[in-house]
Structure formats: structure tokens, C-alpha cells
Amino acid sequence: MSTTIIDAEELTREFVVYDGGGLRRTRRVVRAVDGLTLRVEPGEAVGYIGANGSGKSTTIKMVSGILTPTSGSVRTCGLRPVPDRRVLARRIGVVFGQRSALWWDLPLEESFPILAAMHRMPRAVWLRRFDVLADELDLSSFLARPVRTLSLGQRMRGEVAAALLHSPALAVLDEPTIGLDMISKENLRRFLARERAERGTTLLLTTHDMGDVQRLCDRMVVIDGGRVAFDGTEADLVATTDAERILVVDLEEPLTDVVRLPDGASVTATEADGARLSIAFRPRQLSAAQVLAAVQAQGEVVELSLAEPAIEDLVRRIYASGASHTASPPPL
């Protein structure tokens, strides 16, 4: 039973936009998603990254059956999302970060029997699942409080529990950690990672937060202008963009001479009167070991650290280059 969870082929969605008002208004067709091809297999965790207006939300709406594609095709859990929307709804769980799916003025715990009834889950089944969710997401302290009085972090935990109550095969999470503090973010990420490991739940995560992607996803899809600009792992992203890594070394004594480095490496900063050096190098040309060896030939290294390029920078590079990169063919 390994139906491809998301199978999108040349998926395109256009919107008609009207500019101006009255008699002078003009009709303009905007392509939010433009020939997007994407396959997600069961159990994958995909970080779907893109700037505002890059087509992320539109893709999610087409995948979950809220929007019909203008052209191209998409299957979610083997179903046609829009015609089979209500059947599909039982196999996917969607969290819209900005919009609540909970009953605003009811205590949080009251949302779950209603959702369970909508999913036609027998009492014994949903109660068992709810107990697990309430425990892992640590909901117990605020279950009795009306949703409108919950903090953002508490509410989001409730939203995630609500979306996953029916144990969907695919969880689509649109900006799940937006506005959360570090601890709430980390707890939510830990929960989602466990959910995936234990149940094989496929995760599709749109986010601005690269921490989410790094902690949760083994695959990143960067979308730009409605097209896939990059599809691969974080390592692929580093290799593709060839962004500089930084090696910071502390020397026992400052070097008296100018440090000699192999081609492709350069000192970007000197601190502590020359006892601490920051050396930038390109991963395609040099390994960290080669750089370190060059420094050690000239002085005693007592401490070192290696800084990876910020993933935000890498994505920015993808955007800046404008070209499409597909590091590896999508796994089959």
C-alpha cells in the first residue's frame, strides 16, 4: 500500500485580477502556480519553501481540494482532490497557521468530539487517539479553557491535535510555527517528528522558518514564481549553491606572519590580536580538513568551530540565481 501521497504533474493555476476600478478596469491573468511537478512518497517530510506570493498556498489549496487546477493534474492519496474532496478530507489533516479550525468560543476539549463525529470515528477509537495527542502536545492544562482565551502557542497545539485526530496519512501544515516562541516551536517540531516516525505520517510543511525545515524535513522544495526552483536535501542545497562555510580557529599564539592558505580560502576576520581567525572557503573546492591542515602547519590550533551557511542565505541564492536547480531526481 504505497500510493504516492502527492503526485502533481505540470500543475498550473491562474487567477484573474482586475486592476483599477469602474470603466477603466483591466483584466489580467496571473499565474500563481506555473507547471509545477512534484511527487511526495509516503513517510516523506517535505519543507515547502517560498517567499510570499510564490505560490505556496495555492499549491496547498490544490493538493487539499479547495482549488481546481487551471491545467495539469494532481492526485493526493490517489484521489482527485476537488471531485473527491470529502473522501480526501478523511485522509489528510490541514493546519492553516493563520486560521483557526477550532470552535472559538467553546472550551478546547469540546472541539474534539465534534471533529470526531464529522470524521465518523467511533468513541473508543477517537478517545484513544485524543489521549495520545493531548499527552504528547501537552494540552491538559488548558483543555477546559475557551479557545479564544488561549495563547498562540497553546492554540496552535490544539490546531495540530485537531488536524491529526483522524490519523491522516498526510499532514499539510501551513506556517505551523509562525509567531511561536522558541520553546513552543521546539515542542511542536518534536511532536511532528515523532508523529512521522511512529505513524509514518507524511508531512508537507510550508514555512518561512528554516529551523522547521532543518529539524523536520529531509527534503526541501523551494518554489519561486510558481515553479520548483530547487528540490533536494539540505546537503544538496549547500552543494548546489556553493555557499561559503566558515572555519573559526583559536591559535595558541598569534601568528607573526601572514597566514598562508590554499586557493579558495581566505581570512574574513581576525580577533584577539590575531589569535582567532575566521576563514571562509567554498565547499566545492576545499574540505574543512584541508583548510585546518594548512593552518596547523603554521601554528598550534587549540579550539575550532565550523559555521554552516544559514539556510536562509542558501534559499536567497536560489532566488537570486533565478535558474531552476533540481539536485536529484525525485525519489521513486
Binding site: R13, E14, F15, V16, V29, K61, S64, G65, I66, L67, T68, P69, T70, V82, R85, R86, V87, A89, R90, I92, V94, F96, Q98, R99, S100, A101, W103, D105, L106, E110, P113, I114, L115, A116, A117, M118, H119, R120, M121, P122, R123, A124, V125, L127
Partner: protein, 282 residues
């Protein structure tokens, strides 16, 4: 011991969930939420009652000064008002939530409903069942029954059946108007006012003796928006008041069939609306 308990519990707990159970769960939560605010609920109910009573004063004042209005005296006009009030009150409680379609669309909340395995219409109408709207229905029912009792109706099996079925037809017709008004939002985002014109215009027309209306207006609110079929025509037949032109006694029975026909049409429009919302642009 634990095994024995598990055995007695399991059949109930694993029973398949019926549609009816689902609806009861959805509505039950709303009703419990309102019961939680007892005093505000009581105040809401009272204000609805007062509002309905105030509207009735208008008819009272009119008929106090002109003893016959649209072919009806005060008691007969009260039958019309009461009947329209019951029908609208119940329909408003059941379907009035569709008034807020525009906010569901604008705030994107419709999307959260669309990713659930339950019909959108059912989710919307159960999203906020307002028991306080029963205030109007209760006032209407009291006015309807009291006015019928003082009109000196000669009760026959036919008239008893008509008196009982007329509110049902009215609820169906107003329900369809609410749904039509809600459907409008799929096409016109700020269609609230246009929708209200039909729903609340229909309510107003239905609650007065339509014999007093100008013929074109009356024809519109009989054959296009069937508001006069809700209360005026059945009431006129019940109390033997004269019927205006283009209206026959047989039309008193049209409430339910017309209501059902309207539902059939409006449901098609509603479906088309959802298809438009999820549709491929345009």
C-alpha cells in the same frame, strides 16, 4: 473485572457513527455553549420577543385607525403576522447562520470547513445555532394561535390541516431564501445587502395583509419571491377574508410544494456556488 467492563463498553464505543449522531454532536455543543451564558441568553431571548412585539405594534396602529386593511381586520391581520413570525423565527434559527457567509469567505474560514468530510451547508448551519431566535417564533406562535381563536374560524378538517401545515411551508420558503441569500456570496462578495433585501423584504411582505399591496409588488412577492404564500394567503383562507386578484384559495396549500421546489432550485445554485469557489478561475 476490567475485561468484563471492556466487553460491555466495546459495542457502544465502537458503534458506527450515524449521521444523526454527528448532527446532534455538532448542534449540542453550540447549545451547551449558550446555556453557559444563562443571563445573556435570557436577555437575548427577551430582546427578540420585544422586537417581534414592537413590529406588531405597527400593524396594530395601522388597523386601529383603518379598521380594514388589505381586506382584513385587526384579528385577521394578527393571524398573518403571527404565522409569518413563527415561520421566519424557526427558519432564522435553523438557517440564519448563512447570513454570515460573507465573513466566512472573507476571513478564509470557509477553507477550514472545506477540508472536513462533512457537507459545507451542514457545517455552516450548525456553526452557530441561535436558540434566542426562538423568541420571535414563540411570540409569533402565541399571536397566531390567539388570533385564530378570536377570529371565529369555523374549523373543518381541511382548515385544521392548513393551520398546521402553513408554518411548515413558511419555514421551508424562508429557509430557501436564507440559502439563496447565502449562495449569492459566492458571486458577489458584498452581496449581503442584496441578499437581505430578499430575506428581510420577504419577511416584511409576508407579515402584512398583502391585499393592501400594489398589484405588481404583490405579484412579485407571490410568484417570484413567494412571501405572500407564507402567511397571507393561507391566513386569508383560514379566516375567510377576501383574496385579491391573481390569488385563489387553492394557493393556500402551495406553501410546502413551493418551498420544496425552491429548495431544489436553490440547492443547485448553492452547489454551483461551491464549484465556483473551488473552480478554475473566471
Amino acid at each position: 473485572m476490567a475485561d468484563a467492563r471492556a466487553q460491555t463498553r466495546t459495542p457502544v464505543d465502537l458503534a458506527p457513527v450515524t449521521w444523526w449522531f454527528m448532527v446532534r454532536t455538532m448542534v449540542g455543543a453550540r447549545i451547551r455553549a449558550q446555556a453557559g451564558f444563562r443571563s445573556s441568553f435570557a436577555a437575548d431571548l427577551a430582546s427578540q420577543l420585544l422586537l417581534a412585539a414592537t413590529e406588531f405594534v405597527e400593524i396594530y396602529v395601522l388597523l386601529h385607525n383603518a379598521p380594514v386593511f388589505g381586506g382584513m381586520n385587526l384579528a385577521q391581520a394578527t393571524v398573518v403576522y403571527g404565522l409569518a413570525c413563527v415561520a421566519f423565527g424557526v427558519a432564522d434559527m435553523l438557517f440564519g447562520q448563512l447570513d454570515s457567509m460573507h465573513s466566512f469567505i472573507r476571513e478564509g474560514r470557509l477553507e477550514t470547513l472545506l477540508v472536513r468530510p462533512t457537507s459545507l451547508l451542514l457545517q455552516l448551519v450548525t456553526a452557530d445555532v441561535q436558540l434566542r431566535r426562538l423568541g420571535r417564533a414563540a411570540f409569533g406562535l402565541a399571536a397566531y394561535l390567539f388570533a385564530l381563536s378570536i377570529c371565529g374560524v369555523e374549523w373543518t378538517p381541511d382548515k385544521i390541516a392548513l393551520a398546521a401545515l402553513a408554518p411548515v411551508g413558511g419555514i421551508l420558503i424562508f429557509g430557501a431564501l436564507f440559502l439563496a441569500s447565502g449562495s449569492l456570496h459566492f458571486w458577489v462578495l458584498d452581496g449581503q445587502q442584496a441578499g437581505n433585501a430578499f430575506v428581510y423584504g420577504g419577511r416584511y411582505v409576508s407579515s402584512v395583509p398583502a391585499g393592501a399591496l400594489m398589484t405588481p409588488v404583490r405579484v412579485f412577492f407571490t410568484f417570484v419571491v413567494p412571501a405572500t404564500l407564507v402567511a397571507f394567503v393561507p391566513s386569508a383562507v383560514l379566516v375567510d377574508a377576501p383574496l385579491p386578484e391573481f390569488t385563489t384559495a387553492g394557493m393556500a396549500w402551495l406553501g410546502i410544494p413551493v418551498g420544496l421546489a425552491l429548495w431544489a432550485v436553490v440547492l443547485l445554485v448553492w452547489r454551483a456556488g461551491i464549484r465556483r469557489y473551488t473552480g478554475a478561475g473566471g
